[in-house]
């Protein structure tokens, strides 16, 4: 993986750049070696680079001044939220300013009359829910890193989670975004009305991976917590039966709040890891949540139970909250459990049309043999978002490279069956060079022009998302060593 070459002329001006930033944010410039080490990567830790300097603004005006400075002086900018990206979106540059948004973490307004909350970008995803849950509300998107990831980062990545099929991604749960453009101008997109009076620039900015500006304020929708949630676990003798069941549930008109698939290997690893009570010998397991008002949920649960039986599966329903939590705890520990099977692991993220699941799983088994590496699959089955986990041992020569190739082949396979390179982790640096497998040169050029519409000088998060020819730093993938992810306290699903 190659990044643009470091501009030694900028590096030579480091002291002057630090001084200029200190003039803008007197109490928020990190320039010492140990301080900067904290910021040298995001959760894709196989890629790391020490930033030239890190600045931590606490107001939008400071953000604007920093960007004006970067623009005037031609210094690259990399925005960073909490640094939980799994695709290297916040990977710093040796010749660039890392702008960390963690200090802007005030909740500015909670408006129950309009069911929305206005926050600064550094507020964590979970803290939005915590701020409103006493009143029976929550914020729906729930990426697995929600305890740490920031809402500004969620906007940048268009984060998903377990409940996207029913509740959408970040983009479907926003009303407004205030953005500082690369030139320092502050624009407000939408607001409590959600209306923008022109093109849907908010929709474009959401998921733009920090390439178009810095988010300084977000208005999110909050929802009433569903009064009832029930959980079913279904086990199948074959993967194709489970796949057929997922399709049949959807075709029946049921929209589960979550529908998670695990293959036999994943289930076995999880069962030996934290004993959530998964049935032995099953080739595939589904965990299905239904939420809503009591009668809707009963209707959904009875339909799903019947469909599972028709597809040759067996269901167990969680009888109480404790058992629900236990069933889910297994799924949520999938990464950690797989980490016990081998010293190292990488997690991929693609989306496929649901009907392609059996084909994709067969092909992946063949690739696994070809590369001589084990893998398992967890899958947000409701929305077709696949997370293959590839296990390897970095100490064995060549295994890491083989694992990376295996992963890239899986993503190419996703594209081949009509799917995409990434369903929720983002392109970042990790999948950047696979973009031509999904997009034509004309399509990439069009997206490049959209980028230029915001960032003429190309100073904003350069080297991310879009492929390029220039070369310098060799990099790796989401890399888990000794069952330890970066941010090991965060669940990953």
């Amino acid at each position: 993986m190659l990044l643009p070459p470091t501009d030694s002329k900028i590096v030579a001006r480091r002291a002057e750049i630090i001084a200029a930033l200190q003039a803008i944010v007197p109490d928020g410039v990190v320039a010492d070696k140990s301080g900067l080490a904290t910021f040298d990567s995001d959760a894709l830790s196989a890629y790391h680079q020490t930033p030239l300097v890190c600045v931590l603004p606490s107001t939008r005006e400071q953000v604007s001044e920093i960007l004006k400075f970067s623009q005037a002086e031609g210094v690259p900018i990399v925005p960073r939220g909490s640094g939980t990206s799994l695709s290297g979106g916040a990977l710093p540059r040796e010749d660039g300013i890392l702008i960390g948004m963690g200090r802007m973490k005030r909740i500015l307004d909670i408006d129950y009359e309009n069911a929305c909350v206005t926050v600064e970008p550094g507020v964590t995803n979970l803290n939005i829910t915590k701020a409103v849950e006493a009143n029976g509300f929550y914020y729906a998107p729930d990426p697995s890193s929600q305890v740490a990831c920031s809402i500004g980062g969620n906007v940048a990545e268009n984060s998903g989670g377990l409940h996207c099929l029913k509740y959408g991604l970040t983009t479907n749960n926003l009303l407004g975004v205030t953005l500082v453009l690369p030139g320092g101008e502050i624009v407000t997109l939408g607001g409590k009305s959600g209306a923008q009076g022109g093109l849907d620039i908010m929709g474009l900015v959401t998921g733009s991976e920090g390439l178009l500006g810095v988010v300084v304020e977000v208005v999110v929708k909050i929802l009433r917590k569903p009064p009832v949630t029930r959980t079913l676990m279904a086990s199948f003798d074959t993967v194709s039966a489970a796949g057929a069941c997922v399709a049949a549930v959807i075709a029946d008109g049921v929209v589960p709040a979550a529908m998670e698939f695990m293959d036999g290997r994943a289930a076995e690893a999880i069962e030996s890891y934290n004993q959530p009570g998964y049935p032995k010998g099953a080739e595939a397991i589904l965990i299905i949540d239904a939420d809503g008002v009591e009668a809707d949920v009963s209707h959904a649960i009875s339909r799903v139970t019947a469909i599972v039986a028709e597809c040759g599966g067996k269901t167990v329903e969680a009888t109480d909250e404790k058992q629900r939590t236990r069933i889910w705890s297994g799924r949520k520990a999938a990464f950690a459990a797989m980490g016990k099977l081998a010293p190292d692991m990488i997690c991929m993220d693609g989306t496929i049309p649901r009907h392609a699941l059996p084909t994709v799983l067969d092909e992946m088994a063949k690739l696994s043999e070809q590369y001589g590496l084990g893998f398992c699959n967890v899958f947000h089955a409701g929305d077709g978002n696949l997370h293959p986990l590839i296990i390897f041992d970095i100490m064995k020569p060549g295994e890491f490279e083989r694992a990376e190739e295996f992963g890239a082949d899986i993503l190419r396979l996703c594209v081949k069956v009509g799917g995409v390179l990434t369903g929720e982790h983002g392109v970042g640096v990790e999948k950047r060079d696979l973009m031509p497998d999904m997009f034509t040169p004309e399509e990439l050029a069009l997206q490049g022009r959209v980028k230029c519409a915001f960032d003429v000088g190309g100073l904003f998060n350069p080297g991310k998302v879009f492929p390029m020819l220039s070369a310098c730093v060799e990099q790796g993938h989401i890399h888990v060593h000794g069952a330890q992810l970066p941010h090991p306290h965060l669940p990953r699903y």
């Binding site: 407000t188 093109l199 620039i201 474009l204 008002v293 399509e443």
Partner: protein
């Protein structure tokens, strides 16, 4: 007028137009041509030949169709599988005095969402992918035919509500939603806008997943006294009964079930079709609705989306006042129906702040550098 029937022909046409720097108007069903700033007497690219459902996969929850596919055809085909589009596309032809056929591409381009937008969002929330020809005459694809995708920029968001100013659409893929078996409409009659909108917000913020929440003053709905808060709930038989019970719990026994479905005539704007003057859609934060309707002080209006949009008929001389009221609550007043002259003077929306207007222009230029497509319609 050039009539085309496939993407290759569209690309050829656009390349020729690019070569000769000749802008044109894109027309499918032709029902929304009177929306936005009028186009000078431009040649018409007739894409009505790009019609029909290309692939419908009910179990994948997606449908792919050509842009000129009539909304009625989509609804009928999806209905056979008990599914529907999420954005409740509205046919504005009666309001706009058109005898054309409302199409999928037109509804998405105009982000014409009806009352059901409340439940599943606007067109931008369910357009997963599209094919189109850009202003250089290049065919391209935006998004992907899966329900979860973050690969590259989210271009489907941009083409919704762009009023055909970015590209010539040639194919659209929407996520579809199950269509509940039954629905019921509750009416809380003879209540003031304050009380009515408050009741709607209460339901909006419940777990009832309402599919329509509107307030109509007595001037728009005879027999409801001062006005009525209308609530559309959906579900299978027993769940619907439970929801009705819960709604009664929230609203009290004064809310009564009515047999008609007034919502069909709300999103289409047809209640305003015979009224003189301009027709506005004022998008605001729902809790501002009572204040906004009071300040508008007009006879003919209604509030949909729990108060998030106020439809109003206003005399032409009120235009600046309507825009000012919308701006005072940080809303947007969209001039949906007006004379050619008024649309030329007022535009579809109020002018944006400079930095945002610059971004809009630059994004437009990224797709269509010579401004060939519907030039000025959205400016």
């Amino acid at each position: 007028m050039e009539k085309l029937s496939n993407e290759t022909q569209v690309a050829d046409f656009v390349r020729a137009a690019h070569e000769s720097k000749s802008p044109f108007e894109i027309v499918a069903g032709g029902t929304r041509r009177a929306v936005g700033r009028p186009l000078a007497d431009l040649p018409v690219l007739d894409v009505s030949g790009l019609s029909g459902i290309i692939k419908y996969e009910p179990e994948e929850l997606i449908v792919t169709a050509a842009p000129a596919t009539p909304l009625t055809e989509i609804a009928a085909v999806l209905g056979e599988k008990n599914q529907r589009l999420g954005f409740d596309p509205a046919d504005w032809s009666q309001l706009l005095g058109s005898n054309g056929v409302a199409t999928l591409g037109g509804a998405a381009s105009a982000d014409a969402s009806g009352s059901g937008r409340l439940r599943h969002g606007g067109a931008r929330d369910s357009l997963l992918a599209f094919r189109a020809v850009n202003g250089l005459g290049e065919s391209y694809r935006g998004g992907a035919k899966v329900v979860k995708n973050v690969t590259g920029f989210d271009l489907p968001k941009l083409v919704c509500g762009a009023h055909g100013t970015l590209s010539v659409l040639t194919e659209l893929t929407f996520r579809v939603y199950p269509r509940p078996q039954f629905f019921a409409v509750l009416s809380l009659s003879d209540v003031t806008p304050e009380i009515g909108f408050a009741a709607l917000r209460k339901i909006a913020h419940s777990a009832l997943e309402p599919a329509g929440l509107a307030y109509l003053p007595g001037s728009m709905m005879p027999g409801v006294g001062q006005g009525a808060a209308l609530i559309r709930l959906e579900g299978a038989s027993r769940p619907l009964e439970e929801k009705l019970g819960m709604a009664h719990g929230l609203l009290g026994s004064a809310a009564t079930r009515i047999d008609s479905d007034p919502f069909a005539a709300i999103g289409s704007g047809e209640k305003f079709a015979e009224l003189p003057g301009h027709v506005w859609r004022v998008m605001i934060a729902p809790s501002d609705a009572p204040r906004v309707v009071k300040e508008l002080n007009l006879q003919h209006w209604l509030g949909d989306w729990a108060g998030g949009v106020i439809w109003a008929a206003a005399p032409a001389h009120d235009a600046a006042r309507v825009r000012a009221i919308a701006a005072s609550v940080k809303g947007q007043a969209m001039l949906l129906r007006a004379s050619t002259d008024a649309r030329a003077a007022l535009g579809l929306y109020a002018p944006q702040p400079k930095a945002l207007a610059d971004v809009n222009r630059a994004v437009k230029a990224a797709f269509d550098p010579l401004s060939l497509f519907n030039p000025g319609r959205l400016s």
